[in-house]
């Protein structure tokens, strides 16, 4: 089944809301209750219920309603949000997510799901029970107005997000065969009546009363997702001879003022009713009446003051309501500033920008060839603009990694419950931005790393105590930008890796030959080797390597690298390094023979002339760069280029992570905006080339994959070192 686009929007929205809800729940579960967070949870549930209702997805409506009712009670302070309740709501959240998934896929929920849903509803209802109270009548007095408590009790929520309906029925209503109460019942089908006040003031004394004339009126505070038209249509039959005012939620104070003026009852009396309905807070009413008295002649005592004085409405409730209203309004404003754009459209834009860059480079070349100064100047301006367009187009695709990180709050919570370990997740660098496609693909490898760290890195509490660490383990997620790439770190303060065991394991698996000389880092990184992913690994690091090769493969598919640092007994850090974007980069073009190569500019540290500044120490492998040992490679040799060596060779010093290396080239050709085109499958084995690009002249330039090249250089060096070591033994 292909869901229509509205349904898709619904699903997307619901998922977002659920994410917010989850985040809020996790906070609530940890910390003391914060009314705003509970409000956020409530709002999420409420909106999901409303939208689901619009689509007639009854299962979700029913389920969410149960949750919402409980949340409402929490919000009004009848129930406290304990960690038990929060945990229940996390289950509720999971169930909702599953229901939404069924909607998205157009499938029916299975029996098991239904069963779980009913179970949860029962649990929720258990929280509802027992606190309901009915107001006893007050036989002594004769109050003119009584509040009707219908449906749910909404005591705490001063209903600024409710509709307000003022109904005064015409005298002929009964004689026309209609009953005012049938309209009220009709209203219930559209939403729920929060408060209803029946106005009986208009009923005259016995002598003047005509029992067939209608004297009734209602003030109703009404909670509904229906639109105004739908509510109005209920009163279609009585429109002509009745006074019907419908004020939508969040109406302006002036509209209430007009309402009060339009209705036949006294202002004070009406104001009181409005406050009772929960439509207005005393403050609001106060300002309305004052506004009125400015226009009128006799100043009145603010009714709000009176009401608060008489303790009809407690000031904190009013404050809370006002505060809440303000926040809702702010949220609305923020929402209005965002536009939802199809990711495909963005991709298309980026593609076009890519083509634009290539075309621009062509124009540039022609201008230079023609030697027209004017044209060259204008193409320079043009390319600067194109560059800016490129940057902002790419920025559109950039998203903060925070949302991805926050998902791990839940993973950590669940895994720590599962394992019985107490683990804190510390997030930093959440505002670091990276490409959306990268963000989407990094989730799985990260989950794997986080689970691994918690499972095998962080020790059980007892062991931690023995080792003199706090019983509570810490897992850190960190992200930052570094040299044109983004670095994501997953670190734990656990036991770290055991070198000997890894090495023994690797030798046993035939990954390393016996007696090989490996640095600590190399040993640690062995766990990313495919051979390591066995379920029956050695106890201390059991599973440590499980699936790590998959993690590495995923990250390499994103043109990234992964490595691991570990200090035994103190913890380990897995560092993922990813390119910022996948599409366009600033490149540095160099020439070797007739061919052009592009090196990502972010990785270029400096350029020097080979003979003038850096001396070859003779073995053809290292340069002396101001006293620093710099491994280098001639690109001409590396790519096996034919042709004469040029007189003045240049060295491009590139840096990646902790590594530095020199690339010797014939010519330096300057900066170049590079649209990365992927290479065909045929070149998959070639590690030192990351892709190609089309130059303005139509020629093709290869893009040097610096990390790949450096890995290759290092690998070869190691191989020869090992051989050397073996030979000398």
């Amino acid at each position: 089944m292909i869901p229509d686009e509205y349904l898709q929007t619904f699903v997307v929205e619901c998922r977002e809301l659920l994410e917010q809800m989850e985040e809020a729940l996790l906070i609530v579960e940890q910390a003391a209750e914060d009314p705003e967070i509970i409000n956020a949870i409530f709002r999420a549930a409420h909106t999901i219920k409303g939208s689901a209702g619009m689509f007639g997805i009854d299962a979700i409506v029913e389920f969410t309603h149960a949750a919402e009712s409980v949340l409402d009670r929490v919000r009004s302070g009848d129930i406290t949000m304990s960690s038990v309740l929060a945990a229940l709501f996390i289950e509720v959240h999971d169930h909702l997510r599953e229901l939404i998934n069924h909607v998205a896929e157009g499938t029916q929920a299975g029996e098991e799901t239904d069963h779980r849903g009913n179970n949860l509803i029962a649990q929720l209802e258990a929280h509802l029970g027992g606190t309901k109270e009915d107001r006893p009548g007050n036989p002594g007095e004769m109050p003119v107005v009584q509040e009707a408590k219908l449906e749910r009790e909404q005591s705490g929520a001063v209903g600024t997000d409710h509709w307000h309906l003022s109904l005064r029925f015409g005298p002929e209503v009964f004689r026309n065969g209609m009953d005012p109460f049938s309209f009220v019942r009709c209203l219930c089908s559209l939403g729920s009546i929060v408060q209803l006040v029946t106005l009986i003031d208009a009923i005259p004394d016995a002598e003047h009363m005509d029992s067939e004339t209608c004297y009734l009126g209602f003030e109703i505070s009404f909670s509904s997702e229906a639109d105004k038209l739908a509510i109005e249509s209920i009163f279609n039959f009585v429109r002509s001879d009745c006074l019907i005012r419908i004020l939508p939620p969040h109406s302006k104070a002036s509209e209430y003022q007009r309402l009060i003026q339009a209705l036949p009852e006294q202002e004070m009396r009406l104001g009181e009713i409005l406050v009772k309905c929960g439509t207005l807070t005393p403050e609001e009413l106060d300002s309305i009446l004052r506004l009125q008295s400015e226009h009128g002649d006799d100043p009145q005592r603010p009714i709000g003051e009176v009401l608060v004085e008489q303790q009809m409405v407690s000031p904190p409730v009013v404050e809370a309501a006002l505060e809440k209203q303000k926040q809702v309004k702010e949220n609305k404003k923020n929402e209005a500033n965002l536009i939802r754009v199809d990711a495909e459209k963005l991709d298309e834009l980026i593609n076009l920008v890519g083509e634009l860059i290539i075309a621009g480079a062509g124009t540039n070349l022609i201008a230079r060839r023609a030697g027209m100064a004017d044209l060259m100047e204008s193409t320079a301006t043009l390319s600067r603009l194109v560059e800016e367009v490129r940057d902002s187009a790419l920025a559109l695709r950039m998203v903060q990694i925070g949302a991805t990180f926050n998902r791990f709050q839940r993973v950590v919570r669940d895994v720590s419950k599962e394992l019985g370990k107490d683990v804190d997740l510390v997030i930093s660098g959440a505002e670091t931005e990276l490409d959306k496609t990268v963000v989407e693909k990094i989730g799985d490898p990260l989950t794997h790393l986080v689970r691994n760290s918690m499972d095998h890195g962080i020790e059980p509490a007892e062991l931690r105590m023995v080792r003199g660490k706090p019983a509570k383990g810490t897992l850190m997620l960190n992200a930052y930008h570094d040299a044109g790439s983004i670095v994501i770190e997953v670190s734990d303060d656990g036991g770290g890796l055991n070198k000997e065991k890894i090495l023994a394991k690797a030798i046993e698996r035939g990954l390393v030959s016996e007696g090989a000389m490996l640095t600590d880092k190399e040993i640690y990184n062995l766990i990313f080797e495919a051979g390591f992913s066995t379920a029956d690994a050695v106890s201390n690091l059991s599973g440590r390597g499980v699936g790590m090769d998959v993690v590495r493969r995923n990250i390499q598919a994103l043109r990234g690298t992964v490595d691991l640092d570990s200090v035994e007994g103190q913890g380990s850090t897995v560092r993922i390094r990813l390119p910022l974007t996948l599409a366009i980069i600033d490149g540095f073009m160099v020439g070797v023979g007739n061919a052009a190569y592009v090196i990502p500019l972010d990785m270029v540290v400096e350029c020097i002339e080979l003979r003038a500044w850096a001396g070859d120490e003779g073995d053809g492998q290292y340069l002396n760069l101001r006293g620093e040992v710099l491994p280098y490679r001639r690109l001409r040799d590396h790519f096996d280029m034919q042709g004469e060596q040029v007189q003045r060779e240049n060295v491009v010093v590139v840096g990646y992570g902790d590594h530095k290396a020199g690339l010797v080239v014939d010519k330096l050709m300057g900066e170049f905006q590079t649209v990365i085109k992927p290479l065909g499958k045929l070149f998959k084995g070639e590690k030192s080339i990351g892709g190609f690009t089309i130059l303005g002249s139509g020629e093709v330039a290869l893009i040097v994959d610096v990390p790949g090249l450096m890995g290759q250089i290092e690998h070869e060096r190691e191989a020869s070192e090992v051989a050397l070591a073996a030979a000398s033994k």
Binding site: A148, E151, F174, T198, A206, S211, S223
Partner: protein, 113 residues
Amino acid sequence: MANRNTKNQPSSRIVIVGELTIYTVLELKDNLLAGLSTNDELELDLSKVNEFDGAGLQLLVMIKKEAAMLGKVLSFTGHSPAVMELLDLSGLAGFFGDPLLIVRKPTQEGKSI
């Protein structure tokens, strides 16, 4: 529709049977006012009311106000389900101030979208 007026007790009592709606209020008004004028204490038995609408409610409000004005005691007793439902909806139960047996129908509870 029928109503009976029994005067054999110190405080008299009127039983309203059948409808208390727009179709019967005209007649009932006179009956009730007559009942009120002849007694200091009047009890209206609503247990036999099977239909009750806004007009009926209005009538009860009027007679209650009238009784208060005349300084007489008027009470409603034995509210039938139909009466209870409307009183609940209107929120006027407190106005009448009669002891009620509150029965909530679970099905009506909070079904809303």
